[in-house]
């Protein structure tokens, strides 16, 4: 029987630009040749529920790193205070996010037991950042969990987020799994249809599932938005997808 021991805790990683940021690392122990995943936290922050997701990956035999995208705004602060500081500053610029995800990828690939394959998964605003990352970095698989704002109108673009991510679709470099709630307003079913249209137009490999009765943030446990059926099926889809695309 394979070992289910894991190691998890806070580390420091170096972003592509050389900045040191806080991150949470979880990995299986006594296992070699394991795949890895960068987990991108949601807008409410680098919090305990996202760290729990990293440990879930480790329990399944994946290495996982959650980069604290809000670290620069409030080093050492609580996740709530850091999220507030990041929001007050206009939110995380896309270029900075890519530097941090690239740093997390490099860290994961350098681990002695890793097989060198790295996927990305993100929730909420992190879903959008996962899509962004997969269009700009050499990732092996991407999971977008209800990322709002991929489809953006010109008035929604800002100096921090200057290009609509859907317009980067032609540069997508890996297979994509998308998990959405039919009752979500962002991404709405219309937004999801537009993403499907764009992915099809550019002949990308993708698989989308939209859950009836579920809204936004259906994976977020202990919250009113949690949806047991969607979450349960979604996790099965994630394991099948990553097991296929990240195996060594």
């Amino acid at each position: 029987m394979a070992s289910d021991r894991m190691e998890a805790g806070t580390i420091t990683i170096t972003s592509r630009k050389g900045d040191e940021i806080e991150a949470y690392h979880a990995r299986p122990m006594e296992v070699t040749g394991y795949p890895s995943v960068v987990v991108i936290h949601h807008m409410p922050g680098y919090d305990s529920s996202t760290k729990e997701i990293a440990r879930r990956f480790a329990s399944r035999g994946y290495g996982a790193v959650v980069p604290n995208l809000f670290h620069r705004y409030a080093p050492g602060a609580s996740s709530g205070d850091a999220a507030a500081a990041a929001r007050a500053a206009g939110g995380v610029p896309d270029a900075q996010c890519l530097d941090d995800v690239a740093g997390a990828m490099a860290f994961l690939k350098a681990q002695p037991g890793a097989n060198g394959k790295v996927g990305v998964i993100g929730y909420c605003s992190g879903g959008r950042q996962s899509y962004l990352s997969a269009c700009n970095l050499e990732l092996d698989a991407v999971v977008d969990c209800y990322g709002g704002g991929v489809v953006a109108t010109p008035d929604q673009l800002t100096p921090e987020r200057p290009v609509a991510v859907i317009d980067m679709t032609k540069d997508l470099r890996c297979p994509m799994l998308g998990l959405f709630g039919v009752n979500d307003a962002s991404p709405s079913p219309e937004h999801v249809a537009k993403m499907e249209e764009e992915l099809t137009k550019h002949h990308k490999s993708f698989e989308f599932h939209s859950y009836e009765g579920a809204g936004h943030a259906f994976f977020w446990v202990e919250r009113p938005s949690y949806h047991a059926e969607a979450s349960r099926d979604g996790w099965h889809r994630i394991w099948d997808f990553y097991d296929e695309h990240l195996a060594g």
Partner: protein, 90 residues
């Protein structure tokens, strides 16, 4: 949904935080997922000591939409009261 819609108001006042009273310089208002309130979305206000201050110098509130509306109306009604107007403040 996550909203990036955020409005920041420069304000002057004081707030009571975990370490006592401190001067407030800005109020950041947004409608998004709350950290704690058990609703999908909340009207959130962070009363902050300013962008260069310790991020923990913050008073946070998360209100459901109806509560936020009633609070806004209550604030405006209070400021419009004759007794307040008589004080000659804006």
């Amino acid at each position: 949904m996550c909203t990036y819609l955020t409005s920041t108001e420069k304000v002057a006042g004081t707030g009571l935080g975990a370490q006592g009273w401190f001067a407030i310089e800005e109020a950041v208002v947004y409608f998004d997922h709350p950290q704690e309130a058990l609703v999908d979305h909340a009207l959130c206000i962070d009363f902050r000591a300013g962008s260069r201050a310790d991020p923990s110098r913050r008073v946070a509130v998360e209100l459901d939409a109806g509560s936020a509306r009633r609070l806004a109306e209550s604030i405006l009604a209070t400021l419009a009261h004759d007794e307040v107007k008589a004080l000659g403040v804006d």
